[in-house]
Symmetry: C2
Subunit: 335 residues, 2 copies
């Protein structure tokens, strides 16, 4: 491992992705990724008594699926990195309790999938770990209740708002495994662009994404064309446009490469009233279905995955404080 | 780095602690550690408008102090690992925003100080990082408001309850630096011992601490006597006693080595109505004052620091779910 430039760590490329899973709610199941999910739940409760328990169940099912698809017992997994949006990462606690896998809890809001892969691949360079599982979840109903208003209020939303993905996704990183590997990571800094609108997460996160992308390209001396795709986590339509413009202002034209996971989950008829989707589960289910599938098959060769997180806290907004944001980049390449 | 036994990572010992800081509230300032704090605030608001903002200010001051004492600019710090007890780790967001240091957010409840040192020292073995800052905070008033009842209600508490430390602590880990280094880490698993009483955190966490301590001793083939002290994070009087008994049942008599940070913060007259202190700040301020001071001076040579965390969520308790718990161990030795 070598540190490059400001914030980028150049990895050996020996850490590969050997299993991946994604489960999702019924609306997500009807979207373009529907066929690729390992499980689609019939309703938002996922057989549980509450939305929070449902989210925990999804993450738990996701973990089971990763273990089965990776062909590993819990004893063969060295570390489990997980976090989610619920207060005290409740979903992670539910999914990991009594699993007998050493667990490191994360809080990176919607950047968690990328954050977990950054940490896991950095740790793996030290070479004592064979398998690390990275995962995260979110749930539309539990997130609205916690961050905005309970759904029962029937509140209306502006078109800038994004819907939290009901789903969980994750993968297993294995030293010297898989045909898709991680070649570099650029962990991001917490930024405070001054946005206070909790219905405009994409606008809040776009500056963080742009900064991390520009830092990564500068640190690695890679032009945008190096990548087949630069995939941001959950900026939505508005945030994606802003991110492209802001990255251009920082000297990089990424218009040909930029895609956003927040525009890939819902069917067109579902997304008509929103700017797209968001939530920890958003980038997690997109990465761990269509993106890694294309990388494994050679339909994509090099993807810069940029998890974006709004560290949005209702208590911070009550204090009239803006929403801090962060973005972490993971360079994923076909061997 | 070599993996030993079930869950322990044997490190090169090249990661040392080169700076440390701890700041605290007025009650903590009157306790036995008072003289050792870098800053003691006159009141719980720390010059801010709310308890949450006060906690963020403490953590921010702690970060400033680590940078000054370590003689490093933000540009010289490769990574910052931080988490706290507030929903969405609000205190971390406040302290880290616009610092220009790549930041990885953690959620490990009161185990955060140990969790951050586990991750940092594992990452450092890959050798590209020079300096990583680890830190955390908690605040009595913000924690009571969020997890139990607002202080204004004047609720009474059972004697098993512990008071959250108002304080922040952290340190800088440096590759090939310092005379005190990290020789091994044992990240813990999430356990669910079935405790549902949010006023008995020590009882909930004791089984996690005992399991992690026994795993560490077994994995490393070290007898308890190898350590001058086994320091748990915040079990309090009751939890400490339980931890000793449970570790004995697992085959290790640690009665001579076991100490708990939750019994070291308050002056005797303050602790008379509680079982001790807890909170992320508890183990953070104890480790980063008296414990590391004694290690640096040679008054202690080998300490097993076991951060203990109750992943307690009010929403989980509303679901009649027990409190999941975790404990991470960090072996800290004088070179």
């Amino acid at each position: 491992m070598i540190k490059l430039g400001e914030n980028t760590f150049w990895l050996s490329g020996r850490t590969g992705i050997t299993a991946r899973a994604a489960v999702a709610g019924p609306i997500e199941g009807k979207g373009p990724l529907g066929e690729m999910f390992d499980k689609v739940y019939k309703d938002e409760k996922c057989g549980q008594t509450s939305w929070e328990m449902a989210e925990g169940q999804m993450l738990s099912d996701c973990l089971d699926t990763i273990l089965v698809k990776g062909g590993k017992t819990p004893q063969e997994v060295d570390l489990l990195l997980s976090g989610d949006l619920l207060n005290q990462c409740m979903s992670t606690a539910i999914a990991t309790r009594d699993r007998n896998i050493p667990t490191l809890g994360l809080y990176g809001a919607c950047s968690t999938m990328a954050e977990s892969m950054c940490i896991a691949s950095l740790i793996m360079e030290g070479a004592a770990t064979r398998n690390i599982i990275c995962m995260t979840s979110s749930h539309y109903c539990s997130a609205e209740k916690q961050f905005r208003f309970p759904l029962e209020l029937g509140g209306q939303k502006p078109k800038s708002s994004q819907s939290t993905v009901t789903g969980a996704g994750g993968n297993m990183l294995t030293w010297d495994g898989g045909n898709v590997c991680i070649t570099a990571v650029t962990p991001g800094c917490v930024r405070d662009p001054g946005v206070t609108d909790s219905n405009n997460m994409g606008g809040a996160m776009a500056p963080a994404a742009a900064t991390t992308i520009a830092t990564h390209l500068k640190d690695t001396s890679r032009p945008p064309e190096y990548y087949d795709m630069i995939l941001t986590g959950d900026l939505g339509e508005l945030g994606k446009e802003m991110c492209g413009q802001l990255t251009m202002e920082l000297g990089y034209d990424i218009s040909k490469q930029l895609q956003d996971a927040g525009t890939m989950v819902y069917a067109p008829e579902e997304s008509i009233n929103t700017a797209g989707t968001s939530g920890c589960g958003c980038s997690a289910v997109v990465l761990n279905t269509v993106i890694l599938d294309k990388l494994e098959k050679g339909e994509l060769n090099k993807v810069l995955f940029v998890g974006t997180g709004a560290l949005h806290s209702p208590a911070l907004l009550n204090e009239k404080q803006p929403i801090p944001v962060i973005a972490h980049a993971v360079s994923i390449e076909r061997r």
